[in-house]
């Protein structure tokens, strides 16, 4: 039997902490260890920041709707907004620092590249097991992040 929880907050930076705490509480309930709860919190922080910055283009433009679902094998966080279409897959991945250093790129050149952004999505892609994005006129942007429950084979 799946356990579902839902939270809706205004799209404002101080509200992100509430989203993180809400997701952390659900993740603890799902049985994740503290390190994984920390990772999930970071992913939700980055995803919510992207919604305010890119989908809404600022604070107080629209709401952020958060749903968590715990089922037999997975923990799923869904974030929805009513902002403009934001395709995170269009965001370039940050440079591979280890390779770029090997290629002789100076640290100054590297740090310039790192300003471009995409760091938050890099965390999300690294820390979640599955990530999906969809957009439709009725529901706006939907971002689904899935983490497999520990000790479960999916």
């Amino acid at each position: 039997m799946a356990a579902q929880r839902r939270l809706t907050v205004p799209g404002r930076y101080p509200e992100i902490r509430k989203i993180c705490e809400f997701v952390a509480a659900s993740a603890s309930e799902a049985g994740f260890d503290e390190d994984t709860v920390f990772h999930l919190e970071l992913c939700c922080d980055e995803a919510s920041t992207n919604i305010i910055e890119h989908a809404y283009g600022g604070e107080d433009v629209g709401a952020i709707d958060v749903t968590t679902i715990i089922d037999n094998a997975t923990f799923t966080v869904t974030l929805q907004d009513s902002g403009r279409p934001f395709d995170p897959t269009a965001v370039p991945a940050p440079p591979d620092i280890n390779n770029d250093l090997a290629a002789g790129l100076s640290t100054d050149e590297l740090s310039q590249q790192l300003q471009v952004g995409g760091l938050g999505l890099h965390f999300i892609r690294n820390l979640m097991d599955e990530v999906y994005f969809t957009f439709d006129e009725d529901h706006g942007n939907t971002m689904v992040m899935v983490k497999y429950l520990q000790g479960k084979d999916v």
Binding site: R17, L42, E46, T49, I97, D108, L110, Q115, F123
Partner: protein, 117 residues
């Protein structure tokens, strides 16, 4: 939750401490503190993260941006005291290769630039 800074004794270096979470609540204050020090010609900086419990991409960008400014003026920005979770975050984006990171803040303090006057 706060940001504090102090001039190291017998040195031109400043240490900036972060107590709490480097997220939207503290990042603007950290950015302002580092910018002000750099604006005033202090380019040798140490950021003490031993009381920092969390960092997001905004916090990382703020540190990289100050590091770049310090470097462009022949200074640097060192980090110290990162806990295991913060170290993991830095390593995930390769920032452990960009910054000089000291586990021990006393060691980082001892590297502060000696006063020229």
């Amino acid at each position: 939750m706060s940001i504090w800074h102090e001039r190291l004794p017998h040195s031109d270096s400043y240490l900036v401490g972060v107590s709490g979470r480097l997220d939207q609540s503290l990042n603007p204050e950290l950015e302002e503190t580092l910018s002000r020090l750099l604006d005033n010609g202090h380019h040798d900086l140490i950021v003490d993260l031993s009381h920092t419990t969390y960092i997001n991409s905004g916090g990382l960008r703020c540190l990289v941006s100050a590091w770049r400014r310090a470097r462009s003026s022949d200074g640097t920005l060192r980090l110290c005291g990162l806990n295991a979770r913060l170290q993991e975050i830095f390593a995930m984006v390769g920032f452990d290769k960009v910054f000089e990171i000291y586990p021990n803040c006393d060691e980082a303090r001892s590297l502060g630039r000696r006063a020229t006057s």
